[in-house]
């Protein structure tokens, strides 16, 4: 796919002085971030640090109180080329009891490329099969997603994003509460995407097997960027070499461990 709309020198994502607040409570204070094409950036931070809000605001899912976002050099409000973006939300929406097969959910990823009322093309079919294979769920294609484990459901969501053949993949805590097998499958799929010159923005509580893929880490604390550079060594419990489990509900002590090791002067 060629994309003549933006010169390649433009960053895939540029956030400038973003301010976001929910119900009067500020969540992001003038956050600025650039992600160049081909870069893999991890956005780290404790629960409530604003890391998910940052990517959700970057995609237009959360309104900015002030500041600007541009995708591939185009202001968010004018951006229409959504096929270049692949979004992986935190979890499959709980939804209703109407079943959906793995293949049906992954095929949603092709809608960015399909015309209204048209039947799926052979390219659509091939992309869905390839995405299912990439995350190791080809044998579950006909199963209802509700029968999959949490980690497998998370893999379905990345397959859905990959099926759209995006240039920028935005993942919101893709490995939170995910078993080790799924984390490895996830890392493999991401490695392949990065090898094909894809750009990745990844929100995470901790990186686990994804760490070697990451070029740069941005750490948020209380809605501000406190670190922007190499992946920091986690402090506290996280520093233990065998530490590889996840904390969907981290204790207060663990939440603070991300910032404990960085001096305040690193603040942006």
């Amino acid at each position: 796919m060629s994309h003549p709309s933006a010169p390649s020198s433009e960053p895939a994502l540029r956030v400038t002085d973003a301010v976001v607040g929910y119900a009067g409570r500020p969540v992001l204070h003038r956050v600025s971030l650039q992600v160049a094409t081909g870069e893999v950036v991890a956005i780290l931070g404790a629960n409530g640090s604003g890391k998910s809000t940052l990517v959700r605001a970057a995609l237009g899912l959360v309104p900015l109180r002030s500041g600007e976002v541009s995708l591939f050099g185009v202001a968010l409000r004018r951006f229409r080329d959504w096929r270049r973006i692949g979004y992986v939300p935190q979890r499959l929406s709980a939804g209703s009891a109407v079943p959906a097969t793995v293949r049906e959910v992954v095929a949603q990823g092709r809608l960015t490329r399909r015309r209204f009322g048209r039947r799926p093309s052979t390219a659509d079919g091939r992309a869905v099969v390839a995405a299912l294979a990439a995350i190791g769920l080809a044998d579950r294609a006909g199963d209802p997603v509700s029968t999959l484990s949490g980690g497998q459901q998370q893999r379905v969501l990345i397959a859905r994003a990959l099926a759209g053949e995006p240039e920028l993949l935005v993942l919101d805590e893709p490995t939170a509460g995910v078993d080790a097998g799924s984390q490895e499958a996830f890392a493999d799929a991401l490695r392949q995407f990065v090898a094909d010159r894809g750009t990745v923005v990844l929100v995470a509580h901790e990186l686990g097997p994804l760490a070697p893929l990451v070029d740069r880490a941005v750490v948020l604390h209380h809605g501000q960027i406190v670190h922007n550079g190499p992946v920091p060594e986690p402090a506290g419990h996280h520093a233990h070499p065998d530490h590889d489990h996840v904390h969907p509900h981290a204790t207060l002590e663990q939440q603070h461990s991300w910032v404990g090791s960085w001096p305040d002067s690193w603040g942006a």
Binding site: L59, G60, L61, R80, D81, W82, R83, I85, Y87, P89, L92, S93, G95, S96, A97, V98, P99, A100, T101, R103, E104, V105, A107, Q108, G109, L111, T112, R114, F116, G117, P120, G142, D143, P144, S149, G151, Q152, R160, G164, V170, D179, A180, G181, S182, D244
Partner: protein
Amino acid sequence: MSFLQYDFMVRALIGAVLTGLMAPAIGIYLVQRGLSLIGDGLGHVALTGVGLGLLTHTSPVLSAVLVAALGAVAIELVRERGRASGDVVLAVLFYGGISGGVVLVSSASAQRGPSLSSYLFGSPLTTDANDLMLVGLLAAGVLAVALLLRPWLFAVSHDEEYARVAGLPIRALNLTLAVTTAVTVTAAMRAVGLLLVSALMVVPVATAQQVARGFTATMYLAMAIGVTAAATGLTVSWQLNTAPGATMVLLTIAGFVAVTVGAGWVRRIRSRQAEHPAQAEPHEVVLDR
């Protein structure tokens, strides 16, 4: 099939089959979003349209389509805002709709013909050729939307945020679904009535989803259940001399109960067989590092 020698019975059957086909086809999207009762509310609103049509001597079906569609758009805009007070707005709309309808229809039918209950609970046997033509056209439109737009409506009903990031026209799709729901309710008015149509939109889907594995399979199965229940209900009501619309709905519910009980048994038997670990999935948590 002796009753098919009567033309009015043939027309009633065609109307019932169309209703059984289109109601679950659009109802599945409502069930998926947890809006199962919206069809019922739109039925209330449509009654005001019926009253307006009777008073102005225009087609009550067409005026009901218009009023219900306006109501559907209003409901969708309230839902989109996601206000906590939204359900109060809906209550006002629904009860206003049915009260306005009762007042208008009763003052209109003081002058002539059709009774209020024929709109509320259906009167398939009074379907004339013009009615059937109109219902056929509306049903064709509903089925075209429900089937041709399925991947898009499925995506937006399944995960609206994802659909937004995928660049789908969320609002246009939601409004299309809302208006199509209004059209379905009104087109089904003759066969099952405004107060019962919601059952045919929801119950076949609730039945099908217990045995189907995917969305498309659920949709087709629900449509098959809807058609079967509508045709059987009409036949049974002819033989037992019961109210046709209500008979269709009772049969649909009987099917739901039967499938729920049956599926429960099957699950219990399977889980008993699956006590051997060979049936279980391989362990996901392999810590081989």
